[in-house]
Symmetry: C2
Subunit: 395 residues, 2 copies
């Protein structure tokens, strides 16, 4: 078995705070760190049991942020339930490719079934969810065999059947092979509408060259702009993984009207964990939309060793994916995170009306001075741009 | 006495975690929430005593982040000590204007003296540091009497003498009256060089219209762009208060080469506290520089009551400024915050070399695709811009 049990001892920061802080201190620390209270959604015992009884049991958490929005006179509440799924790859990374994909499909199919029982309207999976995150190996084979057509691949077909069955929008981030255009490979999120049709796709805009990963070994910067997908359950967009480090990427999805932006990711503790709770949350605040961070979980081990460009010995895994998926509301309030060490489904009920309410309250779009920055940025990209630096003049 | 003692019971999140979490749990929670360990800087007993013995005693904390940077073969370390000062206004808000200014000068002069004893090279005060944050009142008088010339005002002269005495760069955010240009009023940070000369000034780029504050009652959006000030202790910039909600503001200071960006602020708990630890920190991460959040502390009460546009009764104070000033390194590591309830001086030693090291490691500027966003933003500000929205086509 190539999936090592995690050596991480902390289930989550939130569970540790709840366990150890005296109640009055906890309330105040929780408020400062996480914002307004978030209600737990009731989970029927039969549904809770289904999350435990399955071959691969998973953590199930459900919250409502609906009360963050106020009642309006001119619009009805627009309640939507968002599902985020984080999972470890169930088979060893050297199992046959098709078997790995099938095993993942089977596992996620069960989790989506639970999500449906909890009334989830939109579900998003983690980055490259049908495969190990093998881009550290720099091997093309067999990993490129996990790539599929965004429009007609097996994984898209699988999601289409789930979407139709459950009347659920599915965001499916995969390794895309575009056979129509010269077999180009992309890191792509496919959006499947709740009627089962492929609504469109978005390709990862920013590619890391950091630590174990230069993912441009496999695919290049996306060419799909910043699309927002209009679904029956709101306007959604996807900022894939490393794009979360780029505020302008988050920003353009807001410009195009996103109400929920998903950030399907694959990132490990030593590299990024202290940033994880900051970036997607800051994006929700700055852009007055809901943001959803989804990170895979577990440690993946590979058959052939690889190096990390850091002078250390070759190795077969590059660390622990810390999960910790969470949702932030446009007012900055966030849910607790899923476990750092287990598969999980996070269900969050939100009222999309809150986006406009927060814009009306804080006025960030209005005070953004986009004209100023359009000018500044146009200047800044010129090769002869002179940064605005103030130096002391000689007497 | 118009300064109410704070009703807030929590000294700081960090002190509560340290007090209540078991050591092993604390270490891991601290890592996830705050990043790499930050060393405490030794404080000589005589210096510590000076912070206690003064009429207005204040919290004194000192850390070193120098170890976050690695030794380079081609550059010597560039160690700089940053001082952040947060304070409550010492006199009632209805005391004579000149007495209030003098009392604040006296208090801050003592704190800067302590900073000097700890080797601080650059100090930054809070937003509009010489006055109560009276913009909630919508009264012009007497508050506009606190305004001064950035170049020749009493406060600038006061800072010049401190700067020269201590060989210290001082960032002095004041209410500016520009007598030369039609008595315009601005929210301005004056940068005084370590030789005592005024190096330049920056005017607040983004003005809030939120909660108790429409500050455009008093001053308009700044017209000084995004200047970076080249000092003997590094390239610094200032993102004043509400500008911290605007990622593009933070971004342009990075484009112009800032290594440290200060965010002098005045903000209260009910409005913004859960965002406070997110925004400046995210900016440090996204832009590979040090960011420094400084917030005033205490509750200020005014002679005449005012309303907040929220249907609630008129009142004389609008809540508790929660302090919590802190520094974030470009790798996302942050210091503990100063107290939520007391005056304080936070000294942080940093190695400016870390900025370039983090850019080299993470590559955010390189992978930013500025050309793409220059184009996108130019499009987005056109009145006829059509957002990129993907809708299902009719069959």
């Amino acid at each position: 078995m190539s999936i090592k049990p995690s050596s991480e001892s902390l289930e989550s920061v939130e569970s540790a705070l709840k366990e150890h802080l005296p109640p009055a201190v906890y309330d105040e620390v929780r408020r400062v760190l996480y914002g307004k209270p978030v209600a737990e959604l009731p989970i029927a015992p039969s549904v809770a049991a289904s999350a435990q009884s399955q071959a691969a049991s998973f953590e199930l958490k459900a919250y409502s942020m609906a009360a963050l929005a106020t009642k309006e006179q001119v619009r009805q509440p627009r309640l939507v339930r968002i599902g985020l799924i984080q999972h470890a790859t169930p088979l060893p990374t050297d199992a046959p490719v098709l078997e790995q994909i099938e095993a993942i499909h089977a596992k996620i199919g069960q989790m989506v079934d639970t999500a449906a029982q909890l009334g989830v309207n939109i579900v998003c999976f983690q980055e490259a969810w049908t495969m190990p995150f093998a881009f550290c190996t720099r091997e093309k084979d067999p990993w490129l065999q996990f790539s599929e057509s965004a429009e007609t691949g097996k994984t898209t077909q699988f999601c289409q059947s789930l979407a139709k069955r459950y009347n659920m929008v599915i965001v499916s981030p995969i390794l895309e092979r575009d056979e129509v255009h010269n077999d180009t490979i992309w890191n792509t999120a496919v959006v499947i509408n709740s009627n089962g049709r492929v609504l469109g796709k978005h390709r990862k805009n920013h590619i890391p060259r950091v630590g174990d990963f230069n993912e441009s070994t496999y695919y290049m910067e996306g060419n799909t702009g910043h699309p927002v997908f209009e679904t029956a359950f709101g306007k959604i967009a996807i900022n894939i993984c490393y794009g979360r480090h780029h505020p302008l990427n988050w920003f353009m999805f807001a410009v195009n009207g996103a109400e929920i932006v998903f950030n399907p990711s694959a990132t490990v503790g030593a590299l990024s964990e202290p940033m994880w709770s900051i970036e997607a949350r800051c994006a929700a605040i700055a852009n007055s939309y809901y943001s959803c961070g989804i990170n895979r979980v577990g440690t993946e081990s590979f058959a052939n060793e690889f190096t990390s460009g850091d002078g250390k010995p070759a190795h077969k895994d590059f660390g622990h994916f810390y999960g910790s998926s969470y949702v932030t509301a446009p007012d900055g309030t966030r849910t607790p995170g899923l476990s750092r060490v287990r598969d999980g489904l996070l269900v969050t009920e939100v009222d999309l009306n809150l986006c406009r309410q927060v814009k009306d309250k804080w006025g960030f779009p209005m005070t953004q001075r986009r004209d100023l920055y359009a000018e500044s940025l146009a200047e800044a990209v010129r090769l002869d741009y002179k940064p605005q630096i103030i130096r002391e003049k000689p007497e």
